[in-house]
Amino acid sequence: MKFAIKLSALLSAIIIVFGLIISLFVYQSNLSILKEIEIHHLQDVAYNTLNKIDRNFFERYSDIKGLADDSVISSRNSTAKEIAERLVDFRNTYKTYVSLSFFDTNRIRIADTSGIGIGKQNELELYFKEALQGKISAASDVKMSSTLNQPIIYFASPVKDEKGEIFGVVVTRVPITKLYEITKEAAGIHEEMGELMVDLVDKDGLLFYSNHNKKGILKDNLTEWDSFQRSRAGEKIGSDVHADPGEEEMIYVFIREQGYLDFKGNDWTLIIHVPTRVAFAPAVELRNVTIIILLLLIAPALLISFLFSKTITNPITKLRDATTKIGKGEYGHRIKIKTGDEIETLSDAFNTLSLNLKKSQEELQNYSINLEKKVKLRTKELDRKIKESEESRIATLNILEDVNETREKLEKAYAELKTLDVMKGDFMNIAAHELKTPLIPIIGYVDLLTKEYLGKLNEEQKKILGTIMKNSIRLQKLIQDVLDITKLESRVMKFEMKNIQIKDVIKDSVKNMKLFAIEKNLDLSYDVENDLPLIRGDKNRLSQVFGDLIDNAIKFTDAGSINITAKRNANRILVSVKDTGIGIDKNFMPKIFQKFQQADTTAKRKYSGTGLGLAICKEIIEHHDGKIWVESKPGNGSKFIFSLPVK
């Protein structure tokens, strides 16, 4: 729709613009033509007018010539009265003359039709002068008649007698009104409209007739006018178009008096001028009419071009709609356009395309259905494969994990082994090795002998072997204690600190030492508070402590019981090993935890021991961030207490 509007607007605009251009062009040419026509017309008018004037004057000329030849006038014998009568007759006959006069050669008026001025001398006017010279003259000067109050022209002719001698001058006076009539007639319609302006000037430029400037008659001088100047310059007939400052443009036509037959004329110039606008009036009218017609044509032009553009846009709209349909998916849509032009070709191509699209669409659908089926199949297969691979992947991952774990452990073990290897060079280990090694065969063989693997033994032999064994074990223990205390003091010993329940340690220790206690008929028991918090400690080392304390208790108690308790005290656990033994001497108490201090240093050596046990216990407990002390009175048993921090 928009396209139709655009198109129609464009067409209309084109038509109108062209119309305007053409009419403008025509108008412009018309103007020049009209100007020319007008000039020619005016020139014709001017020529005709002047011709008529001259013809008229020719008659006057002929008249006065006839008058001069009149028998009465041309006779010297005629009386003044006879001449006067003759003049009156003449005037009555011709009726154009204002008055006629007869002068003698001295310029004395002899006779006159009006009867006045007889005997007065005439002024020596040019016309009189020329007449005396034998020339029939028309006064080239137009004069204002005082009696008639209008300009008049003088015609004078010499009167000759039979011999041909001039003895008088006859003068006629012609009013200028005749001139007016002629001019008026020539001017025609324009004169009536008051637009055709006619001016007559004499050879000096004096305006003696004007149909528009009545006041200027015999007063204004038109020597300034181009037309006058050109006429005086010699142009017999010409035209000029100009506008005076502040005035509208005028067409001027001028013509110089040619005379008629014998009448030579007075050398006057007739100037006719008319406003150009008047000349152009027809063209202007035509132009205005054209414009109105064009304006009237706009509406029909729009309508026609609109209808025309519709014929173009209708097929295009059809194409657009069809294309939209295809765009929406309606393939196979066809359009019917029979415009017989390229649009029809386009629509045919479109129909072909549409059909092809439909075909392709169907093919595509079929293909996609097939594809879907194939995809479904493959997807199933793929899913299955994925599942399989996933399973194997998980399996692989598990294997990898295991391998990694094993590898890590192996690495760790190897590192451990390496350190163990280093341990070989460690002094402590070397010392331990060297110290312990001799004891191996000693203890080993003694044990074999004691167990009668090498033969039966008598009592004495058994006793001796017992002593050897006891001392070997004592030595072994001593070596171990020395090694321990050395390691503890040199901070070489490694503690495996773990979160442990003290109850477990006590339980195990009691179990281990039970037999020894039973041997001496002692009661060994423990009392552990419920829900004791965990402590951080090395189970082995703590067992060693318990073992040592219980061992001491057994050693120094002859009868009674040994009881172990453990209870919580704020953020610590208090453990006590109480016995009903012999107690500890007051003097010995401060030294009890020192190295190589034994309670009994008598020769009896009843109590064997290394003297290092408690020192080792102290080191171990203190390593656990704990404290160990003893409460005892001789004869009242001993109570060894240590505290350990709660985890």
Binding site: K409, A413, L420, K424, I440, K494, E496
Partner: protein, 117 residues
């Protein structure tokens, strides 16, 4: 097989184990042990750790790479922590026995190792 550089210790162990019914092969160095292992068919190797030329660890490493490798147990004065023991067991050691040992205990443990797979 018992590997130890101390002859007296070897004698003791030999006495104990032969009485207990085991076949006994002595080796007084790591090198001797490995050489003998090439020809002897051994079920268990008791390894001392602290030996002058080759430590028990080194011998163990070599034994590990053998085809038909025998079980290996350490028999050493060196006291090791429980943690270490666990590591050793995981790395292929069948047991760790400290010296001096209890004779019965030794026999018991050797029996266990030899009979188990």
């Amino acid at each position: 097989m018992h590997v130890d550089n101390e002859p007296d210790t070897i004698e003791l162990v030999k006495f104990i184990l032969t009485r207990a019914g085991f076949d006994f092969v002595p080796a007084y160095s790591g090198k001797e042990c490995l050489d003998k292992l090439k020809i002897e068919d051994v079920d268990l190797v008791l390894l001392d750790i602290m030996m002058p030329d080759m430590s028990g660890w080194d011998v163990f490493q070599r034994i590990k790479n053998m085809k038909k490798r025998p079980k290996v147990a350490f028999l050493s004065v060196i006291d090791v922590s429980e943690e270490r023991k666990k590591v050793l067991l995981k790395s292929g050691i069948s047991d760790y026995i400290t010296k001096p040992f209890d004779n019965e205990d030794l026999i018991k443990r050797v029996k266990e190792m030899v009979s188990s797979k």
